[in-house]
Structures are given as C-alpha cells and as structure tokens.
C-alpha cells in the first residue's frame, strides 16, 4: 500500500533570473516497509526531493501526499505537527542536541509528542539497546563517535513511531565499519518494525543493501531498480 505519493513535483530556484530546476516533474510512490535508496550525482535533486517529501520545503508545483494528506494543504504549524507524528529524520551531520545526553536526545521527541514520562522510559531503553547504546545513556554527543551519534539519530527517528524515515546521506560522515553497523541496524528495524526508510546516498554500501534504487539526474527520475 502506498504511503507516499509524489505527483509531478517541481522545484525551481532563482525563478526571476536564470531558473534552476532542482526537481523537474518527479512522480513517485513509496509503499509501507520499503528500504529505498535515492542515488545520483551531486546537485541532481536528491536532498531537495527529501526536503519536499519531509515537508521541510515547499515545491514550486506538484504535490506530495502522505497517507492521503496533501502537505500543501497544511498550515505551517500543522505541518510541523504532522512531521512530529509521521516523519522521522536522519541527517548527514547527525544533528543531535549537543546539551542533551543520548537518552535525553531520544526522549525529547517523545516529550514533544506529549508522551507521559513513564511511557517514554519504557520506549527509550529498548530502542537504545537495539542500536547498541545502552551503555552510553548519559553521554553527551561530544562524548560519542560519529557512528554512535548517528545511531542515536536513528533511535530518535524511530522513537516517534513515524510512518517513514527520511535519511539524507546518513553514512557520508562515517567510516566503513560504522557505516556497515548503522546500515545493519536500519535494515533490522525495517524488517522487524516494518518502518519505511528512504535514503539519499552516494554510498555503494547503502545501494547494495537497498531493495529499491531510484536514480536522479538533473532533477528527474532517470532510472529505477527493484531487487
């Protein structure tokens, strides 16, 4: 069943002078439980596409529908709330809250969702255990390696029980061992929890493990491979 439906998505930068088409009429659908990689050279529109699907940026034309909700119909406040409850994000630069510990970083998103303290505790500990960080609960991000920080980001994204997770170059800053470990964790979550993952990546290791690969070129879908 399709949870994301993108129709004729176009994003034009510098509209008034020389228009640059970051996305040019992209139409795609994503189903529940997918483990999809979006690949392509730099500047092909991967990140722009993820930003549109994640409701972080507005398209110049076209539509993004998530479980039947057209993101364009939501006001800014509603869109933020929609992201909080439906979309998980993993960023290339980890983007954890530096003043919070591992546990608090994961807990924070649950607090934003209004989950009571008792329930938060029950949810966080197994999650952090599953990403192998149960011994780093009270460490702050600057006390963790890059791989560990990205695993905290995965746990944070999963904690909010999203419909899908968008990961923008999640392994780009990691060494190969950390990248493999992170991919294994995400694959395990995808298989066990049926969480949909959509990546943008240059990393061949990610591409190898992805079950669907969409290739972007010049803001358009240039190819698609399902394994």
């Amino acid at each position: 069943m399709s949870i994301i439906k993108v129709t004729d998505l176009t994003k034009i930068y510098n509209k008034t002078r020389v228009p640059v088409y970051a996305l040019n009429g992209v139409s795609l659908e994503f189903s529940e439980g997918e483990f999809t990689a979006i690949v392509g050279p730099s500047g092909c529109g991967k990140t722009t596409f993820l930003n549109m699907v994640g409701g972080l940026d507005k398209p110049s034309s076209g539509a993004v529908e998530i479980s039947g909700t057209n993101l364009a119909s939501l006001k800014p406040g509603q869109l933020t709330d929609f992201r909080l409850h439906n979309i998980g994000f993993i960023f290339q630069a980890y983007n954890l809250i530096p003043v919070l510990t591992t546990k608090e970083n994961v807990e924070f998103i649950l607090e934003l969702q209004g989950v009571p303290a008792g329930e938060r505790e029950k949810k966080i500990l197994p999650l952090l255990e599953s990403v192998g960080l149960s011994d780093k609960l009270n460490n702050r991000p600057n006390e963790l390696s890059g791989g560990q920080q990205q695993r905290v980001a995965v746990a944070r994204a999963l904690a909010s029980s999203p419909k899908f997770i968008l990961a923008d170059e999640p392994t780009a800053n990691l060494d190969s061992k950390s990248a493999d470990s992170l991919l294994d964790i995400m694959l395990k979550m995808n298989e066990e929890l049926k969480v949909t993952f959509i990546f943008s990546t240059h990393d061949s290791r990610v591409m190898k493990k992805a079950r669907r690969i969409i290739t972007f070129e010049d803001g358009k879908v240039a190819g698609e491979e399902i394994r």
Partner: protein
C-alpha cells in the same frame, strides 16, 4: 526538558555568558546600592526629623497651625491627652508651649522659636537629650535653664551658663522679656532646625510670659511603630471628630507637617525605579546582542528542531527561557552583591563628614546607613524578568523566521 535545554544552552559559551551575567550583576548592583544609599539617607532624615523635631503626630489649634501665634492654644488639653494615650500604639505624648521670640546675648540677637517643654515627657517623645554636646539637659539646679543649639550659641557668641535674653509677646500682646541661662548645647543633623529652635521649661516660659501654667498650644505624639502614623491619625480623627469639625483642633501626621519629608521619601523610590529601568534598558541591548549571537550560532540546530517537529511556540519559549535564565543569573548575582554591600555598609555606615555642612543644611545626616526593603528586590526581579522577556523577542523572532531546509544545510 525545555527548561534543561535552555539552562544548559546558556553555558555552552561560558565566557560570553559570564561576561553578560557580570554586566547584569554590576548594573543591578549599581542601581540597587544607589537606591539603598538614598533610601537610607531619606529614612534617616525622616527618622531624625520625627525623633528630634516633629514626632509622629502633632495636635494644634487650626489657627496656630496657620500662623504659629502662641495665643491660639488647645482647649482642654488634659482631655485630649488622655484620649490620645488611650489609643493603641501610642508611646507617649508631650504638651508644649511654643512662642516666637527674639533671643539676644550681649553680642548678638536672633529670631527663634522657643519650645516650652516638660523634660520628662520629652524624654519619651524626643531624642534631643542624646544630642547634647555640652552642658546638661536642664539639670543645672539654676533658675530658667535653657537648651540651645551649637549653631545658635555660635551665632549669639555664648556658651554654657551664659545668659540669654528672650523678648516675647504675652497673651495680651504686650512685649515682655526674660533672662534664661544656657544649661546645655545640642547639635542635630539639621542646621535649619538648630538655628531656629531652643528649649526651655514650660512652666518657666508660662511664668515669664504670663500664660496659664496649664496652657498648651502643641501636643506631640510619638508612636511605637512609625508605620502606624496614618492609621493613628485616622483613629484620632474619629475619636476627636467633634473637636476637629468644630475647628478646635487639627491632627496632623509628620508627612503633613513637613511635606518635604514625604516628598524626599517618595522621590527616592521614584528616582530609584527610574534608575533601575534605565540600567535594565541599557542592559537589554547587551542581552539582545548576546542572544542574537547565540541564535545565529545555532541555526542548524534550530533548523533540526523545527524539522523533527518542535513548533514555533516551543522554540520561542526555549529562547525566552534562555534569556530569562541568563538575566536572572546576573540579576541574582547583582542582588547578592548588593545584599552583602548593603549589610556591611548598613552596619558600618558611610562617612560623608567632609560634606556635613551641605548635607546638614538640607536636614540630611552626614553618616549614611544604606537601607532597603525586601520588596525592592522582588520588584527588581520582576523588572529583570520583564527585561529578559522583551530582550528575547527579537532573537526568538529571528529563529522562527528560519527555513528548516536551509537552516539544516548551514555549517
């Protein structure tokens, strides 16, 4: 958790936060200590004036209150005094005979208000005995003793045991004279009072001028707690309502007798509030600047918070809390510094004797004991919070204008 994040965020750049909190602390310390200084000065002036000169409450014949002519006395003073003493909170009363006179020595003369007093009653009412610097408080054993100020003694070029001639009007309006002998010399912090007043025994003054020994034209009332003055004035007003409405007596608190004192007190508070507001306004620019820097350094982080679902209201609150914590930390340090400084100087006093002449001419003491009420700290804390909230608006608005997609890409 928003509280935790905000509190920890302000210590991410310790040097910057310490510099800002120090500037808030020093600014507030300056404002609070100046207020304590001027407040102490005003309170001492009022206290001195009440203790030495006017008491808490005075009762006169309304005509005497208008033009200070001795012939306008209080009818049935014993009844009035008995009524006053039955009121709760009244420490004591003193009945006085006041007459304007010309005081003369062999060398000089000066216009003066002669206060005919009962020394025992005055001991409860006034601290003039404590202000004696030479001689004694009426205890000479000699006839017609007088207590004059050092200023008057200097003016008339006389000293203890020297004669002073008073020329006054008797009840019939005829000029009469009497010789008094200086028993003691006093000095207060108010040069104007010292120059204008001398004390003699009431019975001597009555005898010298031909007034009835029981004749009284002023009743001074001293209270246990000066803060009760307005309440006791109201109570006495209702107790003697028939005499008041018949125009027989007028009951006035110190603030009505000497409105300047009331003004000094009120102005000190107002000036201090204005000073604190000016200081906080100046500090506001520093706080806004620091918070703007803090927001601009965290563009990517704020973008991430927006992306994961932290709404604008929470981001606004987070930045506002950071500003409040930063300001309150400085505020608390400033208040602590002020409490220490005020406690120490309130105990030791600040010696301004090099300015004594000028200060005394306005009735101010030259030894200042800074004093402050806890309410002022509460008020300052509220002002600090208001300043912080206002200071947070611009940085918070700046944060809310961020586009999460662009913010996340920033380095």
């Amino acid at each position: 958790m928003l509280n935790n994040i905000s509190w920890r965020n302000i210590w991410r750049n310790k040097t910057r936060s310490i510099v800002l909190t120090a500037s808030v602390a020093i600014g507030l310390f300056g404002g609070i200590f100046s207020f304590a200084f001027y407040n102490g000065m005003a309170e001492q002036t009022i206290d001195n004036s009440i203790s030495t000169e006017i008491s808490n409450i005075q009762i006169h014949n309304p005509k005497f209150a208008d033009n200070q002519e001795a012939v306008y006395g209080i009818s049935e003073p014993e009844k009035v005094i008995a009524g006053i003493r039955s009121v709760n909170g009244v420490k004591g009363t003193a009945s006085r005979l006041l007459i304007n006179a010309m005081a003369a020595s062999a060398n000089s003369s000066s216009g003066i208000l002669v206060k005919g007093v009962d020394p025992d009653e005055e001991l409860i009412i006034s601290n003039i005995k404590e202000k004696i610097t030479e001689g004694s408080y009426f205890n000479t054993g000699k006839r017609y003793p007088a207590v004059i100020s050092s200023k008057l003694a200097e003016k008339l070029k006389i000293g203890v045991n020297k004669k002073i001639i008073l020329t006054m009007q008797n009840p019939q309006g005829v000029i009469s004279g009497a010789a008094f002998r200086v028993a003691g010399i006093f000095k207060t912090d108010n040069t104007n009072f010292d120059e204008a007043v001398m004390f003699v025994l009431k019975e001597d003054l009555a005898e010298a001028t031909g007034f009835d020994p029981a004749y009284v034209n002023e009743i001074a009332v001293r209270l246990d707690d000066p803060d009760d003055t307005k309440a006791v004035v109201t109570e006495l007003g209702s107790k003697f309502s028939s005499d008041v409405s018949a125009g027989k007596i007028i009951i006035r608190g110190w603030y009505e007798i000497n409105p300047f004192l009331e003004m000094v007190s009120g102005m000190t508070v107002q000036m201090s509030v204005i000073l604190i507001i000016i200081i906080l306004c100046a500090l506001m620019f520093g706080i806004v600047n620091t918070m703007l820097m803090s927001v601009l350094e965290r563009v990517r982080e704020i973008g991430m918070l927006m992306a994961i679902g932290m709404n604008g209201r929470k981001i606004f609150v987070m930045i506002m809390l950071e500003t409040i914590y930063l300001s309150l930390t400085g505020g608390a340090a400033g208040m602590l510094l002020s409490i220490i400084a005020i406690s120490v100087t309130g105990y030791t006093g600040i010696d301004l004797s090099f300015l004594a002449e000028g200060l005394n001419s306005y009735g101010y003491s030259s030894y200042i004991f800074p004093a402050i009420s806890p309410f002022y700290f509460l008020m300052t804390s509220v002002f600090v919070i208001i300043t912080a909230v206002l200071s947070s608006v611009l940085p918070a608005r700046r944060a809310l204008k961020l586009n999460p997609a662009e913010a996340i890409r920033q380095n």
